[in-house]
Assembly symmetry: C2
Homo-oligomer: 202 residues x 2
Protein backbone atom coordinates (compact mmCIF):
# COMPACT_ATOMS: atom_id res chain seq x y z
CA UNK A 1 0.00 0.00 0.00
CA UNK A 2 1.38 3.47 -0.83
CA UNK A 3 2.75 5.32 2.21
CA UNK A 4 0.43 8.31 1.74
CA UNK A 5 -2.61 6.05 1.78
CA UNK A 6 -1.37 4.14 4.83
CA UNK A 7 -0.78 7.39 6.69
CA UNK A 8 -4.21 8.76 5.78
CA UNK A 9 -6.00 5.57 6.88
CA UNK A 10 -4.02 5.71 10.10
CA UNK A 11 -4.99 9.33 10.79
CA UNK A 12 -8.66 8.80 10.01
CA UNK A 13 -8.66 5.72 12.24
CA UNK A 14 -7.94 7.97 15.24
CA UNK A 15 -11.31 9.68 14.85
CA UNK A 16 -13.89 8.47 17.38
CA UNK A 17 -16.19 5.68 16.24
CA UNK A 18 -14.25 5.02 13.03
CA UNK A 19 -12.62 1.60 12.80
CA UNK A 20 -9.98 0.42 10.33
CA UNK A 21 -12.46 -0.71 7.66
CA UNK A 22 -14.39 2.54 7.73
CA UNK A 23 -11.13 4.52 7.73
CA UNK A 24 -10.01 2.61 4.63
CA UNK A 25 -13.31 3.37 2.86
CA UNK A 26 -13.08 7.06 3.72
CA UNK A 27 -9.46 7.21 2.54
CA UNK A 28 -10.46 5.70 -0.80
CA UNK A 29 -13.33 8.14 -1.08
CA UNK A 30 -10.84 10.98 -0.58
CA UNK A 31 -8.42 9.43 -3.07
CA UNK A 32 -11.17 9.59 -5.70
CA UNK A 33 -12.70 12.90 -4.59
CA UNK A 34 -12.09 16.09 -6.54
CA UNK A 35 -9.04 18.16 -5.68
CA UNK A 36 -11.17 21.12 -4.67
CA UNK A 37 -12.99 19.16 -1.98
CA UNK A 38 -9.72 17.69 -0.71
CA UNK A 39 -8.20 21.15 -0.35
CA UNK A 40 -11.29 22.60 1.33
CA UNK A 41 -11.59 19.76 3.83
CA UNK A 42 -7.87 19.84 4.61
CA UNK A 43 -7.94 23.62 5.10
CA UNK A 44 -11.09 23.56 7.23
CA UNK A 45 -9.51 20.97 9.52
CA UNK A 46 -6.30 23.01 9.79
CA UNK A 47 -8.24 26.19 10.58
CA UNK A 48 -10.54 24.75 13.22
CA UNK A 49 -8.45 25.85 16.16
CA UNK A 50 -6.96 29.16 15.06
CA UNK A 51 -10.21 30.71 13.91
CA UNK A 52 -12.33 30.02 16.99
CA UNK A 53 -12.37 31.79 20.35
CA UNK A 54 -14.49 31.68 23.47
CA UNK A 55 -17.22 34.29 23.77
CA UNK A 56 -16.28 36.72 26.55
CA UNK A 57 -19.84 36.81 27.76
CA UNK A 58 -21.39 33.32 27.55
CA UNK A 59 -18.20 31.23 27.29
CA UNK A 60 -19.57 29.60 24.11
CA UNK A 61 -17.63 29.66 20.85
CA UNK A 62 -17.29 32.54 18.42
CA UNK A 63 -15.20 33.59 15.43
CA UNK A 64 -11.74 34.56 16.62
CA UNK A 65 -11.38 38.32 16.87
CA UNK A 66 -14.99 38.77 17.95
CA UNK A 67 -15.31 39.49 21.68
CA UNK A 68 -18.86 38.19 22.02
CA UNK A 69 -20.85 35.73 19.96
CA UNK A 70 -23.80 36.56 17.71
CA UNK A 71 -26.36 35.32 20.24
CA UNK A 72 -24.98 37.47 23.07
CA UNK A 73 -24.85 40.44 20.66
CA UNK A 74 -28.37 39.94 19.34
CA UNK A 75 -30.94 42.57 20.27
CA UNK A 76 -33.85 40.32 19.28
CA UNK A 77 -33.14 37.87 22.10
CA UNK A 78 -34.33 38.07 25.66
CA UNK A 79 -31.21 38.95 27.69
CA UNK A 80 -32.89 38.40 31.05
CA UNK A 81 -33.30 34.66 30.44
CA UNK A 82 -30.05 32.69 30.58
CA UNK A 83 -29.97 28.98 29.81
CA UNK A 84 -27.00 27.44 31.61
CA UNK A 85 -25.62 24.44 29.70
CA UNK A 86 -22.67 22.16 30.26
CA UNK A 87 -21.20 22.18 26.76
CA UNK A 88 -21.38 24.32 23.64
CA UNK A 89 -22.86 21.32 21.83
CA UNK A 90 -25.82 21.41 24.29
CA UNK A 91 -26.31 25.07 23.40
CA UNK A 92 -26.41 24.18 19.70
CA UNK A 93 -28.94 21.44 20.42
CA UNK A 94 -31.23 23.86 22.29
CA UNK A 95 -30.82 26.39 19.46
CA UNK A 96 -31.81 23.78 16.89
CA UNK A 97 -35.00 22.99 18.80
CA UNK A 98 -36.06 26.49 17.69
CA UNK A 99 -38.17 27.18 20.78
CA UNK A 100 -35.78 29.28 22.87
CA UNK A 101 -35.35 33.04 22.57
CA UNK A 102 -33.15 33.78 25.58
CA UNK A 103 -29.36 33.73 25.83
CA UNK A 104 -26.89 31.15 27.20
CA UNK A 105 -24.08 30.43 29.58
CA UNK A 106 -21.71 27.56 28.78
CA UNK A 107 -20.10 26.08 31.90
CA UNK A 108 -17.58 23.94 30.04
CA UNK A 109 -18.71 20.72 31.76
CA UNK A 110 -20.34 19.49 34.96
CA UNK A 111 -18.92 19.04 38.43
CA UNK A 112 -17.42 15.56 38.59
CA UNK A 113 -14.54 15.12 41.07
CA UNK A 114 -14.27 11.44 40.09
CA UNK A 115 -13.40 12.56 36.55
CA UNK A 116 -11.14 15.35 37.77
CA UNK A 117 -13.61 18.15 37.01
CA UNK A 118 -13.81 20.53 39.96
CA UNK A 119 -15.74 23.76 40.59
CA UNK A 120 -12.70 25.83 39.67
CA UNK A 121 -12.50 24.17 36.25
CA UNK A 122 -15.90 25.47 35.16
CA UNK A 123 -17.03 29.02 34.35
CA UNK A 124 -19.22 29.52 37.44
CA UNK A 125 -17.63 32.82 38.48
CA UNK A 126 -18.32 34.31 35.08
CA UNK A 127 -21.94 33.28 35.45
CA UNK A 128 -22.26 34.79 38.93
CA UNK A 129 -20.70 38.03 37.62
CA UNK A 130 -23.31 38.17 34.88
CA UNK A 131 -26.03 37.91 37.51
CA UNK A 132 -24.34 40.45 39.79
CA UNK A 133 -23.85 42.96 36.98
CA UNK A 134 -27.42 42.71 35.75
CA UNK A 135 -29.68 45.74 36.30
CA UNK A 136 -32.79 43.65 35.74
CA UNK A 137 -34.28 40.55 37.33
CA UNK A 138 -33.14 37.46 35.48
CA UNK A 139 -34.22 33.88 35.05
CA UNK A 140 -31.58 31.17 35.07
CA UNK A 141 -32.72 28.02 33.26
CA UNK A 142 -30.40 25.29 34.49
CA UNK A 143 -30.19 23.04 31.44
CA UNK A 144 -27.55 20.64 32.70
CA UNK A 145 -27.68 16.97 31.77
CA UNK A 146 -30.24 14.89 33.72
CA UNK A 147 -27.62 12.77 35.49
CA UNK A 148 -25.66 12.87 38.76
CA UNK A 149 -23.04 15.37 37.58
CA UNK A 150 -25.71 17.63 36.11
CA UNK A 151 -27.66 17.50 39.38
CA UNK A 152 -24.58 18.36 41.43
CA UNK A 153 -23.88 21.29 39.11
CA UNK A 154 -27.45 22.55 39.35
CA UNK A 155 -27.40 22.30 43.15
CA UNK A 156 -24.10 24.17 43.36
CA UNK A 157 -25.43 27.07 41.27
CA UNK A 158 -28.66 27.24 43.29
CA UNK A 159 -26.79 27.29 46.59
CA UNK A 160 -24.28 29.89 45.46
CA UNK A 161 -26.98 32.21 44.09
CA UNK A 162 -28.71 32.05 47.47
CA UNK A 163 -25.49 32.36 49.47
CA UNK A 164 -24.25 35.35 47.48
CA UNK A 165 -27.55 37.14 47.96
CA UNK A 166 -28.52 37.27 44.27
CA UNK A 167 -31.65 35.30 44.99
CA UNK A 168 -33.77 38.49 45.24
CA UNK A 169 -33.33 39.15 41.52
CA UNK A 170 -32.83 35.63 40.24
CA UNK A 171 -35.52 33.11 39.40
CA UNK A 172 -33.96 29.67 39.02
CA UNK A 173 -35.69 27.04 36.91
CA UNK A 174 -34.61 23.79 35.45
CA UNK A 175 -35.77 21.87 32.39
CA UNK A 176 -38.83 19.75 33.15
CA UNK A 177 -38.17 16.06 33.43
CA UNK A 178 -39.84 15.27 30.17
CA UNK A 179 -36.26 14.45 29.22
CA UNK A 180 -35.45 10.79 29.21
CA UNK A 181 -32.35 9.72 31.10
CA UNK A 182 -29.11 10.36 29.20
CA UNK A 183 -27.70 13.45 27.50
CA UNK A 184 -29.30 16.63 26.19
CA UNK A 185 -27.50 16.45 22.87
CA UNK A 186 -29.49 13.33 21.91
CA UNK A 187 -32.91 14.81 22.70
CA UNK A 188 -35.27 15.48 19.80
CA UNK A 189 -36.67 18.97 19.17
CA UNK A 190 -40.17 18.31 20.50
CA UNK A 191 -38.92 16.77 23.74
CA UNK A 192 -36.63 19.75 24.21
CA UNK A 193 -39.34 22.32 23.46
CA UNK A 194 -41.72 20.63 25.88
CA UNK A 195 -39.03 20.49 28.51
CA UNK A 196 -38.46 24.23 28.05
CA UNK A 197 -42.18 25.01 28.18
CA UNK A 198 -42.70 23.01 31.37
CA UNK A 199 -39.59 24.17 33.21
CA UNK A 200 -40.13 24.40 36.97
CA UNK A 201 -38.90 26.81 39.59
CA UNK A 202 -36.62 25.11 42.10
CA UNK B 1 -21.84 29.06 15.48
CA UNK B 2 -18.35 30.23 14.45
CA UNK B 3 -17.82 30.24 10.67
CA UNK B 4 -14.80 27.90 10.87
CA UNK B 5 -16.85 25.32 12.76
CA UNK B 6 -19.77 25.63 10.36
CA UNK B 7 -17.48 25.14 7.38
CA UNK B 8 -15.77 22.11 8.93
CA UNK B 9 -19.09 20.42 9.78
CA UNK B 10 -20.21 21.13 6.24
CA UNK B 11 -17.06 19.57 4.69
CA UNK B 12 -17.17 16.48 6.91
CA UNK B 13 -20.86 16.05 6.08
CA UNK B 14 -19.90 15.41 2.45
CA UNK B 15 -18.06 12.22 3.41
CA UNK B 16 -20.05 9.06 2.62
CA UNK B 17 -22.17 7.65 5.44
CA UNK B 18 -21.64 10.65 7.72
CA UNK B 19 -24.78 12.64 8.53
CA UNK B 20 -25.06 16.08 10.11
CA UNK B 21 -25.03 14.85 13.72
CA UNK B 22 -21.98 12.67 13.19
CA UNK B 23 -20.23 15.48 11.30
CA UNK B 24 -20.88 17.83 14.24
CA UNK B 25 -19.44 15.29 16.68
CA UNK B 26 -16.33 14.78 14.56
CA UNK B 27 -15.85 18.55 14.19
CA UNK B 28 -15.98 18.96 17.98
CA UNK B 29 -13.52 16.11 18.39
CA UNK B 30 -11.15 17.93 16.04
CA UNK B 31 -11.74 21.24 17.85
CA UNK B 32 -10.53 19.58 21.05
CA UNK B 33 -7.83 17.40 19.49
CA UNK B 34 -4.17 18.31 19.82
CA UNK B 35 -2.66 20.60 17.20
CA UNK B 36 -0.21 17.92 16.10
CA UNK B 37 -2.99 15.51 15.14
CA UNK B 38 -4.91 18.28 13.37
CA UNK B 39 -1.88 19.15 11.26
CA UNK B 40 -1.07 15.53 10.45
CA UNK B 41 -4.62 14.70 9.42
CA UNK B 42 -4.93 17.85 7.35
CA UNK B 43 -1.60 17.20 5.62
CA UNK B 44 -2.36 13.53 4.98
CA UNK B 45 -5.66 14.47 3.33
CA UNK B 46 -3.96 17.12 1.21
CA UNK B 47 -1.23 14.69 0.11
CA UNK B 48 -3.48 11.79 -0.78
CA UNK B 49 -3.59 12.54 -4.49
CA UNK B 50 -0.15 13.94 -5.27
CA UNK B 51 1.80 11.17 -3.57
CA UNK B 52 0.08 8.17 -5.16
CA UNK B 53 0.51 6.70 -8.65
CA UNK B 54 -0.68 3.64 -10.49
CA UNK B 55 1.73 0.70 -10.62
CA UNK B 56 2.92 0.28 -14.20
CA UNK B 57 2.67 -3.46 -13.89
CA UNK B 58 -0.47 -4.42 -11.94
CA UNK B 59 -2.41 -1.12 -12.18
CA UNK B 60 -2.71 -1.06 -8.38
CA UNK B 61 -1.52 1.91 -6.36
CA UNK B 62 2.04 2.78 -5.42
CA UNK B 63 4.03 5.69 -4.00
CA UNK B 64 4.44 8.35 -6.67
CA UNK B 65 7.85 8.16 -8.31
CA UNK B 66 7.95 4.37 -8.03
CA UNK B 67 7.27 2.64 -11.36
CA UNK B 68 6.05 -0.61 -9.85
CA UNK B 69 4.54 -1.43 -6.48
CA UNK B 70 6.23 -3.43 -3.71
CA UNK B 71 4.21 -6.57 -4.48
CA UNK B 72 5.14 -6.58 -8.18
CA UNK B 73 8.78 -5.92 -7.21
CA UNK B 74 8.91 -8.63 -4.55
CA UNK B 75 11.08 -11.65 -5.28
CA UNK B 76 9.44 -13.72 -2.55
CA UNK B 77 6.09 -13.80 -4.37
CA UNK B 78 5.03 -16.23 -7.06
CA UNK B 79 5.00 -14.19 -10.27
CA UNK B 80 3.31 -16.90 -12.32
CA UNK B 81 0.05 -16.62 -10.35
CA UNK B 82 -1.92 -13.47 -11.02
CA UNK B 83 -5.10 -12.67 -9.08
CA UNK B 84 -7.26 -10.40 -11.22
CA UNK B 85 -9.39 -8.09 -9.07
CA UNK B 86 -11.80 -5.30 -9.88
CA UNK B 87 -10.55 -2.68 -7.43
CA UNK B 88 -7.40 -1.95 -5.45
CA UNK B 89 -9.50 -2.32 -2.29
CA UNK B 90 -10.21 -5.95 -3.31
CA UNK B 91 -6.47 -6.52 -3.64
CA UNK B 92 -5.95 -5.15 -0.12
CA UNK B 93 -8.69 -7.44 1.18
CA UNK B 94 -7.07 -10.52 -0.39
CA UNK B 95 -3.68 -9.40 1.00
CA UNK B 96 -5.14 -9.07 4.48
CA UNK B 97 -6.47 -12.64 4.33
CA UNK B 98 -2.79 -13.60 4.45
CA UNK B 99 -3.19 -16.74 2.38
CA UNK B 100 -2.09 -15.55 -1.03
CA UNK B 101 1.50 -15.48 -2.27
CA UNK B 102 1.02 -14.62 -5.94
CA UNK B 103 0.77 -11.19 -7.55
CA UNK B 104 -2.20 -9.10 -8.76
CA UNK B 105 -3.82 -7.30 -11.62
CA UNK B 106 -6.27 -4.50 -10.85
CA UNK B 107 -8.83 -3.97 -13.62
CA UNK B 108 -10.21 -0.73 -12.23
CA UNK B 109 -13.79 -2.02 -12.14
CA UNK B 110 -16.08 -4.55 -13.84
CA UNK B 111 -17.81 -4.43 -17.22
CA UNK B 112 -21.15 -2.72 -16.70
CA UNK B 113 -22.53 -0.88 -19.75
CA UNK B 114 -25.60 0.16 -17.75
CA UNK B 115 -23.28 2.09 -15.41
CA UNK B 116 -21.20 3.43 -18.29
CA UNK B 117 -18.25 1.09 -17.67
CA UNK B 118 -17.10 -0.42 -20.96
CA UNK B 119 -14.29 -2.81 -21.89
CA UNK B 120 -12.09 0.11 -22.98
CA UNK B 121 -12.40 1.71 -19.52
CA UNK B 122 -10.70 -1.20 -17.78
CA UNK B 123 -7.07 -2.35 -17.90
CA UNK B 124 -7.68 -5.56 -19.88
CA UNK B 125 -5.03 -4.85 -22.55
CA UNK B 126 -2.36 -4.39 -19.88
CA UNK B 127 -3.38 -7.78 -18.45
CA UNK B 128 -3.21 -9.51 -21.85
CA UNK B 129 0.22 -7.96 -22.46
CA UNK B 130 1.43 -9.40 -19.16
CA UNK B 131 0.29 -12.84 -20.29
CA UNK B 132 1.78 -12.40 -23.76
CA UNK B 133 5.14 -11.21 -22.41
CA UNK B 134 5.44 -14.03 -19.89
CA UNK B 135 8.14 -16.67 -20.56
CA UNK B 136 6.46 -19.12 -18.17
CA UNK B 137 3.04 -20.72 -17.88
CA UNK B 138 0.82 -18.63 -15.69
CA UNK B 139 -2.32 -19.05 -13.67
CA UNK B 140 -4.94 -16.30 -13.74
CA UNK B 141 -7.17 -16.34 -10.69
CA UNK B 142 -10.22 -14.34 -11.67
CA UNK B 143 -11.23 -12.80 -8.34
CA UNK B 144 -13.99 -10.52 -9.59
CA UNK B 145 -17.06 -9.90 -7.45
CA UNK B 146 -19.65 -12.71 -7.43
CA UNK B 147 -22.34 -10.69 -9.20
CA UNK B 148 -23.49 -10.09 -12.79
CA UNK B 149 -20.81 -7.52 -13.63
CA UNK B 150 -18.08 -9.72 -12.15
CA UNK B 151 -19.35 -12.69 -14.18
CA UNK B 152 -19.37 -10.67 -17.40
CA UNK B 153 -15.83 -9.52 -16.70
CA UNK B 154 -14.63 -13.07 -15.98
CA UNK B 155 -16.26 -14.35 -19.17
CA UNK B 156 -14.69 -11.61 -21.25
CA UNK B 157 -11.19 -12.41 -19.97
CA UNK B 158 -11.68 -16.14 -20.53
CA UNK B 159 -12.90 -15.62 -24.10
CA UNK B 160 -10.11 -13.18 -24.99
CA UNK B 161 -7.38 -15.44 -23.58
CA UNK B 162 -8.71 -18.26 -25.77
CA UNK B 163 -9.25 -16.04 -28.83
CA UNK B 164 -5.79 -14.51 -28.62
CA UNK B 165 -4.19 -17.96 -28.42
CA UNK B 166 -2.70 -17.52 -24.93
CA UNK B 167 -4.72 -20.45 -23.66
CA UNK B 168 -1.77 -22.86 -24.19
CA UNK B 169 0.20 -21.19 -21.38
CA UNK B 170 -2.65 -19.86 -19.24
CA UNK B 171 -4.61 -21.75 -16.64
CA UNK B 172 -7.71 -19.79 -15.72
CA UNK B 173 -9.35 -20.32 -12.34
CA UNK B 174 -11.87 -18.39 -10.37
CA UNK B 175 -12.51 -18.14 -6.65
CA UNK B 176 -14.67 -20.99 -5.43
CA UNK B 177 -18.22 -20.04 -4.62
CA UNK B 178 -17.73 -20.31 -0.94
CA UNK B 179 -18.20 -16.55 -1.19
CA UNK B 180 -21.64 -15.38 -0.24
CA UNK B 181 -23.40 -13.08 -2.66
CA UNK B 182 -22.20 -9.47 -2.47
CA UNK B 183 -18.76 -7.90 -2.60
CA UNK B 184 -15.27 -9.30 -1.97
CA UNK B 185 -14.26 -6.42 0.26
CA UNK B 186 -16.77 -7.54 2.91
CA UNK B 187 -15.58 -11.17 3.00
CA UNK B 188 -13.85 -12.40 6.15
CA UNK B 189 -10.34 -13.88 6.01
CA UNK B 190 -11.35 -17.54 6.41
CA UNK B 191 -13.99 -17.35 3.69
CA UNK B 192 -11.45 -15.74 1.40
CA UNK B 193 -8.70 -18.26 2.19
CA UNK B 194 -11.09 -21.15 1.59
CA UNK B 195 -12.23 -19.59 -1.64
CA UNK B 196 -8.60 -19.32 -2.73
CA UNK B 197 -7.83 -22.91 -1.71
CA UNK B 198 -10.83 -24.33 -3.54
CA UNK B 199 -10.51 -22.24 -6.68
CA UNK B 200 -11.68 -24.11 -9.79
CA UNK B 201 -10.42 -24.22 -13.34
CA UNK B 202 -12.97 -22.79 -15.78
Amino acid sequence: MPEALKRLINSIGYLPGIGENRATKLAFFLLNANQNFIETLSENILNIKGKIDFCNSCNGLTDSGKEVCNICKSTSRNHTTIAVVEEYLDMLTVEQSGGYKGIYHVLGGAISPINGVFISDLSFEKLFERIKDSDEDIELILATNPNIEGEATTNYIKEEVEKRGYKYKTKITRLSRGLSSGYIEYADNITLMNALKERKEI
